[in-house]
């Protein structure tokens, strides 16, 4: 196997690992770092694809990915986290080891799904299609199991990363117009969701989205968890009590 395809495989494996790390991460700030790292790996692997297949238009996607997913979106998320003052995210609906096991099942499913497609494809990157589908599904899982708003949005953004990788591995990227459109969509979506966060917190005193399930006009629902009260730092849970 050539060095180029070995490198692409390595980056694909790292992408999968980062998807799992995001699934297991409890802290919001580290989650944003992992998202930025995923964007960086994505840009690197796209650059390798562009170099080995001599597709100059892919370099533009690399630049777009670097600018948007490594610098701009993480910066916006950081700013939002600082303004909302959320540091610690408690466990989601399913505990973390169980989430990981569900993740493994999803990966097996995705690999099986991708196998017939990649047999028909002729690109050098065809074997990584399974990993792309798997990381889309893992991000989707993350959106499902998290309660709080910010991890859900990061899951949404990571899903877009997975789709981008799928496009690169199946057909060497999308046309430039489509790519620009998606990038703009993600950016605007991020800004609108940022406004939503402040509205949600103002209304419910919390970013826990389960409050949104009670849709009633007559009274303001009271916050169920005292954890996310505004302008109050959450104390991290007592860790490692044993000596």
């Amino acid at each position: 196997m050539s060095l180029g395809s070995q490198l692409i495989n390595l980056f694909a494996a790292m992408l999968l690992l980062l998807a799992f790390a995001m699934l297991a991460q409890r802290r919001v700030v580290t989650l944003i770092d992992l998202f930025a790292a995923q964007g960086l790996v994505l840009a690197l692997s796209t650059a390798v694809v562009a170099y080995t297949t001599t597709q100059p238009h892919l370099y533009q996607s690399v630049a777009l990915t670097l600018l948007l997913k490594v610098f701009l979106l993480p910066w916006l998320l950081y700013r939002m986290v600082r303004k909302l003052d959320v540091r610690w995210e408690f466990e989601g609906l399913v505990n973390i080891p169980a989430t990981m096991l569900i993740g493994i099942v999803l990966v097996v499913f995705a690999f099986n799904l991708a196998l017939p497609i990649s047999r028909l494809a002729s690109t050098v990157t065809r074997s990584t299609l399974g990993i792309a589908i798997a990381s889309v599904m893992l991000s989707f899982l993350m959106m499902i199991v998290r309660r709080k708003a910010i991890p859900q949005v990061i899951g949404f953004l990571a899903m877009e990363n997975g789709l981008f990788f799928a496009a690169t591995s199946a057909t060497y990227g999308m046309p430039m117009v489509v790519e620009l459109g998606i990038a703009l969509d993600v950016l605007v979506g991020m800004l609108i969701l940022g406004v939503f966060f402040f509205q949600i917190r103002e209304r419910f005193d919390s970013l826990d989205l389960s409050h949104l399930e009670q849709l009633r006009d007559d009274r303001t629902p009271r916050p169920r968890t005292p954890g996310d009260a505004p302008r109050r730092r959450e104390a991290p849970p007592a860790s490692a009590g044993e000596r």
């Binding site: 070995q6 495989n9 494996a13 690992l17 799992f20 297991a24 973390i96 990966v107 044993e242 000596r243």
Partner: protein, 315 residues
């Protein structure tokens, strides 16, 4: 069975028996240096074992024969494992008797006997340690098997000498699957050897100890044999790690000069590995016992991912 192969087999087991306490001493020395303390002598484990052999053994009144037999069973299992793992040479006549799966079984045999003996006398600490040991063991074992399967998939055989042979002959390539398996294996060997994120080998604090709690009732020669077996277990795990992930330098035949040349390379790799172990232990804090499933679950996940990546990407 050629005389050369037999000699390499015997030399390897003898080297494992001789070097295992030295490895423990080296790790302790590195830990002391990293903690800015004065280090104990590197030969301290040898002296401890000699001292324990001289003393008179005390056995609880209600101890069954199982309690007396266990140290020798555990020691024997570890010696067998040392004979199977190709640390010096791949031409091992004994290794055809057992493959990687049987090796995991040998470790499990030692664990079951230690746990039974710990519960035999009926003290609270023994039972506590035994329960925790089984708890850690049932999580670590499948992950270890998955790591070995990943290497087996690459080389097409579950026999450890064949795996080493294939991996060290193949052209230098990037194996993402082996990288996953390597991280998983490091985590598993920390847990299996009662090292810091799971258990602290230096403490006898009753609430946290796992391995030491099981040995509390033992004294003198029984304890010496068990301590030696624990050192051998660390040595074996290090050798499995070397064989799977950095197999370069292990003699691929049974000619004597190559085997003799492999010995200093092995010692150098073990020294680096021991220093890394001490570094990991110094940098990490002990986990609560209820966090152990998460730690070992991550190891299992990484090992399975390695295998899946191997199946999908073929590398």
């Amino acid at each position: 069975m050629t005389p050369g192969a037999l000699a390499s087999q015997l030399l390897q087991v003898a080297l494992a028996l001789a070097l295992a306490p030295l490895l423990i001493g080296w790790v302790n020395q590195c830990r002391a240096w990293l903690a800015n303390r004065r280090a104990p002598s590197i030969l301290l484990p040898y002296r401890t074992i000699r001292k324990l052999f001289v003393k008179d053994a005390v056995v609880a009144e209600n101890a069954s024969p199982l309690f007396r037999v266990t140290p020798y069973v555990v020691f024997g299992a570890m010696c067998c494992a040392a004979a199977i793992v190709p640390s010096l040479a791949t031409a091992l006549p004994f290794a055809t008797a057992a493959d990687a799966i049987a090796l995991v079984g040998l470790f499990a045999l030692a664990r079951v006997f230690t746990a039974l003996a710990a519960m035999d006398v009926g003290t609270a600490f023994g039972s506590l340690g035994a329960r925790r040991e089984m708890f850690v063991g049932f999580l670590a074992e499948p992950a270890l098997l998955m790591v070995l399967f990943t290497a087996s998939l690459i080389s097409g055989s579950t026999s450890l000498p064949t795996i080493v042979d294939t991996l060290s002959r193949s052209a230098l390539g990037i194996y993402p699957s082996l990288a996953f398996a390597g991280v998983a294996f490091t985590m598993i060997s920390l847990a299996e050897n009662a090292r810091i994120p799971i258990d602290n080998p230096a403490t006898h604090l009753e609430l946290t100890m796992i391995h030491e709690a099981m040995l509390l009732e033992y004294s003198a020669r029984h304890l010496a044999v068990l301590e030696w077996a624990a050192a051998l277990r660390l040595f074996n795990y290090s050798c499995i790690g070397i064989a799977l992930f950095v197999p370069f330098g292990i003699a691929l035949g049974s000619d004597m000069p190559a085997i003799v040349a492999a010995a200093p390379i092995l010692v150098a790799k073990l020294a680096v590995g021991g220093a890394c172990l001490a570094l990991i232990e110094t940098l990490s804090a002990k986990l609560r016992i209820f966090r152990a499933p998460e730690f070992l679950g991550t190891a299992f996940l990484l090992a399975v991912l390695g295998m899946l990546v191997k199946l999908l990407l073929g590398s």
